[in-house]
Amino acid sequence: MAGRLSRTKIRALLIGPAAAVIGIFVVIPLMLMAWISIQGRDYSGGVIWGELSGEAYLRMIFERELDDSLAVNFNYVLIILRSVWLSFLTTVISLLVGFPTALFMATRTPKWKAILVFMVTLPFWTNLLVRNYAWILLLRDHGAINGTLSWLGIISEPLPLLHTQLAVAIGLTYSFLPFMVLPIYASLEKMDLRLVESAFDLYATRLMTLRRIIIPLAVPGIVAGCILVFVPSLGAYVTPELLGGGKTLMIGNLIGLQFGAARNWPFGAALGILLLALVMISLTFYALKLKNTGGNTQ
């Protein structure tokens, strides 16, 4: 009897810290954000606590005219769509670059595998801000790329590279590529290479083996990689801020703006909720995808 009781206590004590961490760092802030998003706006920043208002959500699509009537305003929708589009683009580029990289890594000798995995994680050792600044030096009008091209005489005017959607996509790909490579590598690495030989034995060409055997078996890694790139890209702040300039705002920047210069906390919080919803949707897609493949991943 006493033993049972103390076991329950021990369980509570063991679960306690984890529950506290999740509560303090995840649940409470989320509730706060959801609450703030439906509060009245205090024009000097912050909110009017207790004054319920759906204004923040209306503001995503509508604009209030001077006479208090609503007019459709697609500016924010545009930013949201652009965020989704740029994240999608980033995911696709990362996949196209990351899959062959992972396949190459997974087919090396154990010693080379260790070295290559280390090299893929190397960018994490430097600050994200610094890494994005490095791209400014490469992409700007008189930067490394334009400089080289004009020195070679290929162009006379610098190409507009910096402050474009392409620059943002490149920056995001660069930032999140390891999140694509590593899960795909993990699923390819544990794949039995004899299955590849088996496919060759059964008259499959290299391309067919890739299509029918290697890619299907790497699906869990591919899906995980896509989620891991898409989700942080959607909320990216630093990269579009530095490489996108004012013209290519993403949701992250918009949210930052609401809590800063625009002093519209409810709207910022509402956008945060929207971002969360978008992430949830893509995660649901992931779960469904896993279910479809029957979780059959060895």
Partner: protein, 365 residues
């Protein structure tokens, strides 16, 4: 080597395989030559690491020979990648595709060959029938037992109707009873399909019961090729003799030539004769091999040779008698328990024995 060159499916000619050229060079196969007839059930038998898998991989095209050639129906395979060779493999671990059903696994080879859908379906049905897996066609590979996986691997490799089927220790993962059943099954499939089987095993019993011919390998060499009876009755090497079945290896010296062949002496003891193929000078030392069941045992003074019983082990169908020769060499003889009581020899008794000349093999070392 076989006489009839028209019926040779696979011809391995002077093939060597050296892994990791340079400092770490390792010779896995050393100048191996053999011809395998079409419709033959040919077995590569040898201990682990002797190069059996390597030879199969060379035939399948996963590795290239460092030296020599491999011919299929007289055509050099050198330039053909594995996916163009009409040769299929049943892998040691089966290597079935885990993301496909049984039927999809079997259909894979046919799809890659671009066969029409209708033909694929009917061949898959036929194969499922052949390996008695029809009821499980739509199961996933992960949902069936090891023995069933083994059958699927067979069906998958047989479906494209290859000229040659390579089987790399396909039964080694199965438990004893299943293994026995599959041995019979495999033999049946080979007879039914008429496909050349090249079967790899380290189990001598399996090799003896299933094969038309056996090649015994050791350390990258082929020591002897012959029918199971040949290999068992007339081993030419000490290794072959010792690896296959139970055998007495005895040091002997040669006496004079006799009408039958050659007189042999075990220490001072005379009375053993062998059919000598080669001319051996009198007084030469050599090794003979005699199967325990070929030794005729009798009571004292009935046969020309003697021995002292050191142990008697009852095995049901037969009894194993351990005895020492006068020169100290230990021997074993097996005697069928064909009547209820059997002889009443006890440990310490002196017995007599003999062996017919054609039961004695004179070995090369």
């Amino acid at each position: 080597m076989r006489d009839n060159t028209d019926n040779i499916a696979i011809s391995v000619r002077g093939v060597s395989k050296i892994f990791d050229e340079g400092v770490n060079a390792f010779v896995a196969l050393d100048n191996v030559s053999l011809d395998i007839g079409s419709n033959e059930f040919f077995t590569l038998l040898g201990p682990s690491g002797c190069g059996k898998t390597t030879l199969l991989r060379l035939i399948a095209g996963f590795e290239q020979p460092s030296q020599g050639q491999i011919l299929l129906n007289g055509e050099n395979l050198e330039q053909l990648p594995p996916f163009k060779r009409p040769v299929n493999t049943v892998f040691q671990n089966y290597a079935l595709f885990p993301h496909m059903t049984i039927a999809q696994n079997i259909a894979f080879g046919l799809e890659m060959l671009g066969r029409p859908r209708q033909e694929i379906n009917s061949t898959v049905d036929e194969m499922l029938e052949l390996v008695q897996m029809k009821a499980l066609a739509d199961r996933r590979i992960t949902q069936i037992s090891g023995g069933q996986q083994q059958r699927v691997a067979l069906a998958r490799a047989l479906a494209p109707k290859p000229k040659v089927l390579l089987l790399d220790e396909p039964l080694s993962a199965l438990d004893l009873q299943l293994r026995k059943d599959m041995q019979i099954e495999l033999k049946r499939l080979q007879l039914e399909t008429g496909i050349t089987f090249i079967f790899v095993t380290h189990d001598q019993e399996e090799a003896l019961t299933m094969s038309d011919r056996i090649a015994v390998m050791q350390g990258g060499h082929i020591l002897q090729i012959g029918s199971p009876r040949d290999i068992y009755e007339h081993p030419q090497h000490r290794f072959v003799a010792g690896f296959i079945g139970e055998i007495n290896l005895l040091r002997a010296t040669t006496g004079k030539a006799t009408p039958e062949g050659l007189e042999l002496r075990l220490g001072e003891m005379r009375g053993l004769e062998a059919k000598a193929k080669k001319q051996v000078s009198s007084g030469a030392k050599l090794t003979l091999a005699i199967r325990p069941e070929r030794i005729l045992l009798a009571g004292q003074d009935k046969e020309p040779l003697t021995g002292k019983l050191t142990n008697v082990v009852y095995h049901g169908t037969d009894t194993l008698y351990h005895f020492d020769l006068p020169d100290g060499q230990a021997m074993r003889a097996r005697r069928q328990n064909s009547d209820k009581t059997g002889p009443e020899w006890k440990i310490g008794d002196t017995i007599s024995w003999s062996a017919k000349p054609d039961s004695i093999a004179v070995l090369e070392d």
